[in-house]
């Protein structure tokens, strides 16, 4: 290995050219093939039972997410102008090629079922916009008397009315959204304000905003890293080359992704984050060594310096990279494909960073020359220990006051374990936005006036028993459950099912008598009402609540929040009815994007925890093999464990919920923790062979690896702190957590791991 590397040193230009040319090729492939995957359904494992069922149910009942367009008129909506705006906007939306005409619902399209003295009337609320005061008043009364409409399409205070346009998966694009916004804006009048909200908007905006914000922030992150790296390395060339390693490994990772035609998922944007945090480490260690060598041997040639650097460091560089890569490869156990890809391509990137560190970086030094030597006093006798006074005294202090580290670590672990109890999972999209952002404000506004912008679909399944949902007993139970969920939970604003149709029909057929707003006891009566509805209303409406054979029912719950706590609270109340339904031979299932999001987040976390444990075990085994000692394996894993624990603990205390991004961040704990530990351990082992004095070995290691580790931590922390100024909250969390992980990894390695290493007497037993 060393020979090969040295051979390559003879032809630095060729090496350099080779790397650059391949990078250019990968870059071209990227430009041609790369595409962002914004359809969130594509992220979900389609063979998971919950998703299979939900997708089927979405097809059975035409369950889609709706864009909500709200028209507000503070003076009330029942005037010709607002109603005309509503009509024109409804018609306009129906003409969109992305929207199915029948999927647009508003007061203009809705049917009004009313009871009359001698029968029943089903008609549109209005076709021509009412002009006279009398007609407007009549419409107002009609709306107020229809609880299937009032509070659902028109707010209780009559100042807001909504148009709901349901769209299929993968329809949302930036252009489509802009067009909708444009249409909405252009329809606004002096008195009528228009708002656009709904899950597709939230999902779509998030998928666009996150990466867009990253695009803005990353150059600043890189700039800061560049500056700090320059200050620590004292070399412009060195900084450029080190960042080159990161840059090229990222290009190769994304280039390969494009070459094998895998789209860029939201989690893939974490790959550069990982590579920056991990990739600069090798460069820093190599340069730190080079500096030390040059400082000590100011007259050495380029070749000598680089050869010495490679001799000492190729092993730890390979070791850190392999262990890190293995850690990421353990993500393959995840059921979620984007996470698998994230694991594979980050591992690939890490391995490439290793190759570049060992090949490209030395070639760069050969071409551009060595950094300048810092003058040190060679005559002064250091008794074999290192030249850095700070490092010496720090190492001595840590070892002398070892209980500080031990107790500190114990305290931190307890603190973290307590914090972890508070951790919660959140699949909410909306809560990823700024509280005062327009999207959150609009959502809040609509939630204040209506049932809710998020939906949960409960699918009751009689497992093939026809006409089950014409049974009075069953519908009464459904009705009771709906009322119960609605009354018990503040967050549930509305519920809707076939029972609502039956209630309404029963009332209307009994001269609008409120006492009949119930499910009748006679099954035939229910069947006849349904037939009547089919004959006079739009039978399509029924298809959304019950299947053709009346063996499956879709109950919709409207929630005022899409966060996991809200969905789970509704699920909890629904679950109290599980036994009652099971007794009737009915199964409970769920559908809809909110529910899928919840299951998806659970899956990611489950996978993440599994892979964390798996990679920890693999890394302990690998370390044990590399250092031929189980003890070292265990000691080396300490920084990782501490980093992961603190990361989760702090999240618990700060109320940062676990979601796809923050969960994946725990991988960084492994990637960085292991790097620090390996460099430190390898250096310690090396130093131990030259001395009998544990303290000197520790001090030398501190001066050498310790310094590199601190540099590495400072550089990356400084870079990622920039993200704290991001406008997109998840990116801020990312910046904070990466910085935190870097910090704990470095503190853990230089304190508790050093103490454990020192106490273990390893490498000194035989002497």
């Amino acid at each position: 290995m060393e020979k090969l590397l040295n051979k390559l040193l003879k032809t630095p230009w060729i090496t350099m050219l080779f790397v650059v040319v391949i990078s250019v090729v990968f870059f071209m492939v990227m430009k041609k093939n790369s595409r962002m995957e914004t359809d969130l359904d594509k992220y979900m494992p389609q063979n998971h039972p919950a998703f299979i069922y939900s997708n089927q149910a979405e097809e059975w009942f035409n369950i889609k997410d709706g864009i909500i367009i709200a028209l507000e008129n503070k003076n009330g909506i029942f005037n010709s102008e607002t109603l005309d705006t509503l009509k024109q906007l409804t018609k306009h939306l129906q003409k969109f090629k992305e929207i199915n005409k029948d999927d647009v619902t508003s007061l203009y399209t809705a049917d009004n079922i009313v009871g009359t003295e001698d029968g029943m009337d089903v008609k549109r609320f209005f076709k021509r916009v009412p002009k006279s005061e009398k007609k407007l008043q009549e419409l107002k009364t009609n709306v107020e008397n229809n609880e299937m409409i009032f509070g659902r399409l028109v707010s209780d205070d009559e100042t807001v009315t909504v148009i709901i346009a349901e769209i299929g998966d993968g329809v949302f694009t930036q252009e489509f959204y802009n067009e909708i916004l444009n249409v909405a804006k252009n329809s606004e009048t002096k008195d009528t304000k228009i708002y656009v909200a709904g899950r597709p908007i939230v999902e779509g905006t998030m998928a666009l905003l996150g990466p867009a914000d990253m695009k803005k922030m990353v150059p600043i992150v890189l700039l800061v890293i560049f500056i700090v790296l320059f200050i620590t390395l004292r070399s412009f060339k060195g900084t450029l080359i080190t960042l080159g390693v990161v840059f090229f490994s990222t290009i190769w990772a994304f280039g390969l992704m494009a070459a094998v035609n895998i789209p860029i998922y939201a989690v893939s944007t974490m790959i550069p984050v990982m590579l920056i945090a991990i990739g600069v480490a090798d460069g820093i260690h190599l340069y730190t060594h080079l500096h030390t060598f040059v400082d000590h041997n100011p007259n050495a040639s380029k070749k000598e310096a680089v050869t010495d650097m490679l001799k000492h460091l190729w092993k730890p560089v390979v070791m850190t990279s392999v262990t890190t890569a293995v850690g990421f490869i353990s993500l393959l156990t995840s059921q979620v494909y984007p996470v698998k890809y994230f694991g594979i391509f980050t591992a690939f990137g890490v391995m490439m960073a290793m190759v570049f560190s060992l090949v490209f970086l030395p070639a760069g030094i050969m071409i551009f020359g060595l950094p300048k030597a810092k003058k040190i006093n060679m005559d002064e006798d250091k008794g074999g220990s290192s030249h850095s006074k700070t490092a010496n005294s720090f190492a001595a202090w840590i070892i002398k006051h070892k209980y500080v580290s031990i107790l500190g670590t114990a305290a931190v672990i307890i603190f973290s374990l307590i914090g972890m109890q508070e951790i919660w999972i959140n699949s909410s999209f909306l809560e990823k936005f700024e509280k005062n952002s327009e999207i959150v404000q609009t959502d809040k506004f609509i939630n204040e006036h209506f049932g809710g912008t998020s939906t949960l679909n409960l699918i009751l399944d009689s497992k093939g028993k026809k006409d089950m949902f014409k049974e009075p007993e069953v519908l009464k139970l459904v009705n009771k459950m709906q009322k119960d969920v609605d009354n018990q939970l503040q967050v549930v604003g509305n519920t809707f099912s076939l029972a609502d149709y039956i209630n309404r029909m029963n009332k209307v057929m009994n001269a609008d008598n409120e006492a009949y707003n119930t499910i009748p006891d006679d099954k035939n009566m229910i069947a006849q009402y349904l037939l009547l509805y089919e004959m006079s209303g739009d039978p399509e409406n029924l298809n959304k609540v019950v299947d053709y054979d009346y063996e499956k029912l879709n109950v919709t719950f409207q929630l005022k929040s899409d966060n996991s706590k809200a969905i789970n609270s509704a699920l909890d109340v629904i679950h109290t009815y599980k036994d009652d339904f099971n007794k009737l031979g009915i199964e409970l299932n769920y559908a809809g994007s909110g529910y899928k999001g919840l299951v998806f987040t659970d899956l990611i976390l489950e996978g993440q925890i599994k892979s964390l444990i798996l990679s920890l075990i693999t890394i302990i085994v690998l370390l044990s093999l590399m250092f031929k000692s189980v003890k070292i394996g265990l000691i080396g894993s300490v920084p990782i464990i501490i980093t992961a624990l603190i990361s989760f603990g702090i999240m618990g205390f700060l109320g940062i919920p676990l979601n796809t991004t923050t969960a994946l961040l725990s991988s960084i704990a492994i990637g960085i923790g292991i790097d620090y530990a390996v460099h430190f351990l390898e250096q310690y082992r090396h130093n131990a062979t030259n001395t009998d004095n544990k303290m000197i070995a520790a001090q030398k290691t501190m001066a050498h690896s310790g310094k590199a580790i601190i540099f590495n931590a400072i550089v990356v922390i400084a870079g990622f702190m920039v993200l704290l100024f991001s406008v997109f909250p998840p990116n801020r969390e990312l910046g904070a957590l990466v910085s935190l992980n870097m910090f704990t990894s470095f503190v853990g390695t230089l304190t508790i791991m050093l103490v454990l290493l020192y106490q273990s007497n390893i490498y000194f037993k035989k002497k």
């Binding site: 005409k101 001698d118 029968g119 009337d121 089903v122 057929m509 006849q528 009547l532 089919e534 004959m535």
Partner: protein, 260 residues
């Protein structure tokens, strides 16, 4: 100059003496008029089975007994559900008027409620009993509601047919246009395509076998398929009687409640 004159005269004579060319000169409107005015008898009794099939290929089968009588300015129709069991004896009566300005009168009797109720609906584009047919599709459309153009003649299933395009006069009508294939021999529609407001194909109606009963040709089976919703309705008649003199007493609320 001279030759032109002679040719013109010759052509004129030829057209005037060729009887086949007279029928070929029917305009689209005339063809449709013949279709609408075809003698379908004054009254009819039959068993109707209506099969609704959705996109998942699930079926709903309804069997009814129906009585229809044409009173000139009004057509009365009464139907009794025979099955499924839970809607048995539910009856439905419809009076449809020739007068444009007058909406249909409709009654329904629900046996479980033991009451006859009037139901009203403001549009003829309502779907008939949850099927893919609107009331208009079932023959309530007026000749003047559309502009009819003869497009061409074409063979369908061995029958030479006129192909007529009918474009709605009312721009807000649910169909922008329909295209009908009409058997030249019988003036019975064989096939009809319905295009939605955006000009896209919405539904296809195909006419199945027909029988001559009491001298009147009765279409026994019609299929309507909604191409956009992948929903289909098959209407099949059996035990058809025509012009047997259906009593006026059938078309009363009393009859609806009594059942047959």
């Amino acid at each position: 100059m001279k030759t032109l004159k002679i040719t013109t005269i010759l052509i004129a004579i030829f057209i005037a003496t060729n009887p086949a060319s007279i029928s070929q000169n029917l305009t689209g409107k005339q063809i449709i008029e013949k279709v609408y005015n075809r003698d379908t008898g004054n009254d009819q009794t039959s068993d109707l089975s209506m099969i609704l099939i959705n996109a998942q290929n699930k079926e709903r089968v309804r069997k009814l007994k129906q009585f229809i009588k044409d009173y000139g300015t009004v057509e009365k129709k009464i139907m009794f559900f025979v099955s499924p069991a839970d809607v048995k004896n539910t009856s439905f009566m419809n009076w449809s008027y020739d007068d444009e300005s007058k909406n249909d009168d409709q009654w329904i009797y629900l046996p479980a409620l033991r009451k006859t109720k009037r139901i009203s609906s403001d549009s003829k584009s309502d779907y008939f009993m949850g099927s893919d047919f609107t009331y208009d599709d079932l023959g309530d459309r007026k000749l003047e509601d559309d502009t009819h153009t003869l497009l061409m003649e074409e063979n369908v299933d061995g029958k030479l047919c006129y192909v007529v395009e009918s474009t709605s006069v009312d721009k807000d009508y649910m169909y922008s246009k329909t295209i009908t294939w009409i058997d030249k021999a019988t003036f019975i529609g064989v096939k009809k395509e319905f295009y939605d407001e955006d000009g896209e194909l919405l539904k296809i109606m195909t006419v199945g076998n027909s029988q001559t009963i009491n001298g009147i040709i009765v279409v026994m089976k019609i299929t309507m398929e909604n191409m956009q919703k992948k929903h289909k309705t098959i209407m099949q008649l059996s035990n058809v009687n025509v012009n047997n003199g259906v009593s006026d007493s059938y078309f009363t609320e009393r009859m609806m409640m009594r059942g047959i």
